[in-house]
């Protein structure tokens, strides 16, 4: 393809639903756009459109991914520019169609067309391993697998990693979401290290279970780059996507500092110390 050959198509996937794929996609896209990258977010969950609401762009949709694939409109007409970031665009999914409306071949054609104009093409993958997943991974160079430190999410992540490998995707990284350092410290949650050890793929980053994520979703404003913990964690992940070496321990150290103080008080209250 012509254009910039530096562009990357990254699929954000998980297998299990509800672990934060869409939130991660929205925030990684926002973070990369903040870093002056040209970014397009593609909602590949046909029939269950969500990324538009998380991005706060739901009122501006005219055309969608299926319209582009079927030739009802030109790509440019379907792309929604995020007014907050001049380099950030969304290609929304269709709400009234289903997964079978698009084939993997059409997805490859679509992502190749987007490579011409963007540095990063982030694909928000639907949950499951059926056609929606097959479509989303078809055009991807690289994958970020989102999981939470729970048995069910890790099991599905493991299955997804196997399927990604079968699809020839070699660059697979792990994002551990909804981490609660206080619970890890009390021995009631698997640690980030545990999850990495079990899934045996490189870690791109971890994000704390932060109520600011819920607030930002309520408002339709991704929080990547703002001074919340999750906002900072997502920005760090963006820097790692860009190839920068940002130590993972930064995040947990900050966490453990605060938690240690609160644990100190909790323990002394109980008289255990």
């Amino acid at each position: 393809m012509g254009g910039s050959n530096m562009s990357e198509v990254i699929v954000i996937t998980s297998g299990k639903g509800g672990v934060g794929k869409t939130t991660a996609t929205a925030n990684l896209g926002t973070g990369l756009a903040r870093m002056q990258k040209k970014v397009v977010l593609v909602d590949t969950d046909i029939g269950l459109r969500n990324l538009d609401v998380v991005m706060g762009l739901e009122n501006r949709i005219i055309y969608n991914l299926v319209d582009v694939v079927e030739g009802n409109c030109r790509m440019k007409q379907a792309l929604i520019r995020d007014k907050r970031y001049p380099n950030l665009y969304l290609l929304p999914s269709a709400q009234t169609r289903d997964k079978s409306a698009v084939t993997p071949q059409q997805m490859i054609k679509l992502t190749d067309a987007l490579r011409e104009n963007f540095d990063y093409i982030l694909l928000d993958c639907p949950a499951g391993i059926e056609q929606g997943f097959q479509n989303a991974v078809a055009g991807a160079d690289r994958a970020i697998v989102v999981t939470t430190p729970e048995v069910s999410a890790i099991r599905d992540a493991d299955r997804i990693i196997g399927l990604l490998e079968t699809h020839g995707i070699r660059d697979i990284q792990l994002l551990v979401n909804r981490v609660r350092m206080d619970m890890i410290r009390r021995g009631n949650m698997m640690s980030i290290e545990d999850v990495v050890e079990i899934l045996a793929i490189p870690l791109i980053g971890a994000v704390t279970d932060d109520e600011n994520v819920v607030i930002s979703t309520n408002q339709g404003e991704p929080l990547a780059g703002n001074d919340s913990r999750a906002g900072q964690a997502f920005l760090q992940i963006c820097r790692r996507i860009e190839g920068e070496e940002v130590p993972i321990s930064d995040f947990s150290r900050e966490e453990s500092f605060f938690s240690r103080i609160s644990n100190f008080f909790k323990r002394s209250e109980r008289g255990v110390i």
């Binding site: 430190p149 729970e150 493991d158 490998e165 009390r186 021995g187 009631n188 949650m189 079990i198």
Partner: protein, 69 residues
């Protein structure tokens, strides 16, 4: 009291880790946990011929080398 509390709390992370690891082993090998336990028991029977040990003194770790997913 304190010890009891600590132990209880330590447990759920450890339980989770053990459960996910045995589930994944069972997923990867396409083998039920019962069969995996059977393998462990049989290995113990063999090892016992050479060493005077109790079942809890033998830790069997089965590792499947890649591409079995």
């Amino acid at each position: 009291m304190m010890w009891f509390g600590r132990k209880e709390k330590e447990k759920s992370r450890t339980i989770a880790k053990e459960r996910i690891q045995s589930t994944l082993l069972s997923d990867h090998t396409d083998c039920t946990p019962e069969i995996l336990e059977q393998i462990e028991r049989e290995i113990f029977q063999i090892v016992r011929r050479y060493f005077d040990i109790k079942p809890e003194e033998l830790h069997v770790r089965l590792e499947i080398v890649k591409n079995q997913k």
